[in-house]
Symmetry: C2
Subunit: 411 residues, 2 copies
């Protein structure tokens, strides 16, 4: 690597293991849910480490933790870098956590090597991204950018019927004197694991994300009629499993014809009454569709849903299509990705420009301020699992690229 | 109706409601499970009614109840007629119960009108057919015909962990002095509701069953690989929902091409992990296939399973096919169905010769002695539900046909 810092992978490993210690599960994964004890201990511990590293730490009004390295130019806007601290249940050690550690290490090394930057840099350990505890996601980045207001959490409860706002206040870490919604952020840079197998299979060390996909999720309900599996001739049937299978086959077979980077997934199916010798009267299945262009999502949905409607008419069955997620595609900032490209080119790091198929805090910041998102490879593409793993060299490459990028942006 | 008896539908209605009173549910259905209190009260009450009607009642060694009308010919074999007393949970008032009441009324009217028959007739209220309480079905007819031996129930438990044999003995209705396995039965005649909509839709009053279908049931397990719904390109996927949908579509679309009376049902599906944004690594679905010819079942299964195997090879996924039910088709007795035909023709009752798609006690007797099975229509084809219903005129027609049939057989 062509760079001015010499970062030891052992240091990175020890940081990652230290952070994973807050919420480590018996399977070797991590469970750190918004405002729970593990989450609280992790944010507190990060606060202390920031203090040690002379990065003025503070919490905001929802529990996002910032570490500030003040720049020499007065009244300038902030370069924000970081990721989220929360996990899914029994998730991996790297998802989110790596981005927080990478930012801390990169900024610490910048500080040591080059002293104070011209422009103020803040590291952020965002309180929540996964939506694992309460029925809401991106609470950290959404609160900073003003997508969420404080009252949006008031009526929400977790599966133990604990109120969101109460859980938040009970942490004792809410700083109401700091305005949560910010208007002083110039740009946001996030490093994250890929959570897919593209970089690994193409032997690349860094992914420079050009777009984060738009996502639509639907519940599709097909309603026929229950009947006896033995006494009902085929021509008398309105079999919802039969129809659902035809619709799912069509929808998934259609994908490659529309666009090679379009993906569609039916991950969940509920059959009623779900008895071997009873024709099912109802099937509900989910459809998750993602692409980085809204027009492609529109085209695909139009084609398959008109097929769905036609088939339901033909078979005399009922169809309901309910859209419950509609996230627009977000393009990363052209200037920032150009700087990323020049950094990795200069450093001679094998890289790939790519689309992110997963959602990230960078997509919330992406419509609010110039934003960049960098990926490091995930071994076997595994994520949200104790088996989540990224090689230490790759973790280092990500941190070094972030170091060089922030250097060009802030000094 | 061209017949010598004048049977009042009010009498039939009052018998049916009386019997449904043992185990009536709040939904207007009936729950009468083998050896439970409702079952016991019903068998006891039937015993008393048989006594009143001078049909010598007795229990056998498993709780089947018989009512005997002795014939004048000495040492002749018995004409047995009846059906089962047990129900599914919250089932209907007619399934099984109607056949018991029909036999009682038909034999009682024969006795009143024509006096003692030449040949001995026995009515039977079989203890169990549905398999609703213990993991075993056709216990009543299976014990009489020797398909089951007493020890076959010893190791079985219901969902409350009550032992089968203990539940049986606790009824206090087991008569060990009577041999349960019989070798003195000349023929068996059953009347039952159709549990399908064919008679109703073709405006027929009586179905004469030529065959009871063979049934095969399979668990089919398709195993692929779980992955992230956003970060996994379509070409990297081994999506078990996708493959299962293709297999189910193929299997169900293929049916009409093989035979018009073949039926196949996928009633149950289990998707793992069943999360909207995770590609499913496993789908298990059931396949229930029925036809009255073994060769058709073979042909169909060969064709679809070779397609299943080919598709799994193509997609690199695993396939397991487990057969857990394999019941052979049974043909009803040609001489008896010929008598049935002449009875309904003489009576000018609109009838249909048909195949039974459901299993019945007649299929157990069918391989043991000459057997006939008659159907009456089910309104909307509904069965195993509190909504199960047959019009009183149709219930009467069934009883009158049985009366005429037994007259020709026994006098």
């Amino acid at each position: 690597l062509n760079t001015s810092i010499d970062l030891d992978t052992k240091e990175i490993f020890s940081w990652m293991e230290w952070l994973a210690g807050f919420g480590l599960t018996k399977n070797g994964g991590v469970t750190r849910l918004l405002y729970d004890a593990n989450w609280k201990n992790a944010q507190h511990a990060l606060f202390e480490r920031m203090k040690e590293l002379e990065l003025e730490p503070y919490f905001d009004g929802v529990g996002n933790l910032f570490g500030r390295l003040k720049g020499t130019v007065e009244n300038d806007k902030v370069i924000l870098t970081g990721s989220h601290i929360d996990t899914v249940i029994d998730g991996g050690k790297y998802d989110g956590a790596y981005g927080v550690v990478a930012s801390l290490l990169a900024v610490n090394y910048l500080h040591k090597h080059y002293g104070k930057p011209k422009r103020t840099i803040e590291i952020v350990s965002l309180c929540e991204e996964e939506g694992s505890r309460f029925p809401l996601a991106f609470w950290g980045s959404g609160s900073i950018t003003g997508k969420y207001k404080e009252e949006d959490c008031k009526e929400l409860y977790d599966t133990n019927n604990i109120n969101f706002k109460k859980a938040m206040n009970d942490t004792g870490m809410i700083n109401s004197s700091k305005k949560t919604k910010r208007d002083d952020i110039a740009s946001f840079v996030e490093v994250h694991i890929e959570q897919g197998a593209i970089l690994e299979s193409e032997k690349k060390s860094i992914g420079i994300v050009s777009h984060i996909v738009g996502q639509r999720r639907f519940n599709i309900r097909v309603k026929g009629e229950s009947n006896h599996a033995g006494t009902t001739p085929m021509t008398f049937r309105r079999d919802s499993v039969h129809l659902a299978s035809e619709l799912i086959s069509y929808a998934l077979n259609k994908v490659p014809a529309i666009d090679s980077s379009l993906v569609a997934t039916v991950g969940k199916m509920t059959v009623s009454p779900n008895i071997p010798n009873v024709i099912a009267n109802e099937v509900i299945f989910t459809l998750d569709v993602r692409h980085h262009q809204e027009s492609v999502l529109n085209q695909y949905c139009d084609i398959i849903f008109s097929f769905f409607r036609e088939k339901c008419l033909q078979t005399g069955m009922e169809l309901e299509i309910e859209k419950w997620v509609d996230v627009k595609p977000v393009e990363m900032n052209g200037n920032l990705t150009e700087i990323c490209r020049s950094v990795v080119t200069d450093m001679k790091v094998p890289y790939k420009e790519m689309v992110s198929g997963a959602g990230h805090d960078a997509q919330i910041f992406g419509t609010y301020c110039p934003t960049a998102l960098l990926f490091v490879p995930s071994v076997n593409g595994i994520s949200h699992s104790p088996k989540e793993w990224t090689k230490m060299e790759d973790l280092r490459n990500g941190i070094v690229v972030l170091f060089e990028l922030l250097h060009r942006m802030a000094y």
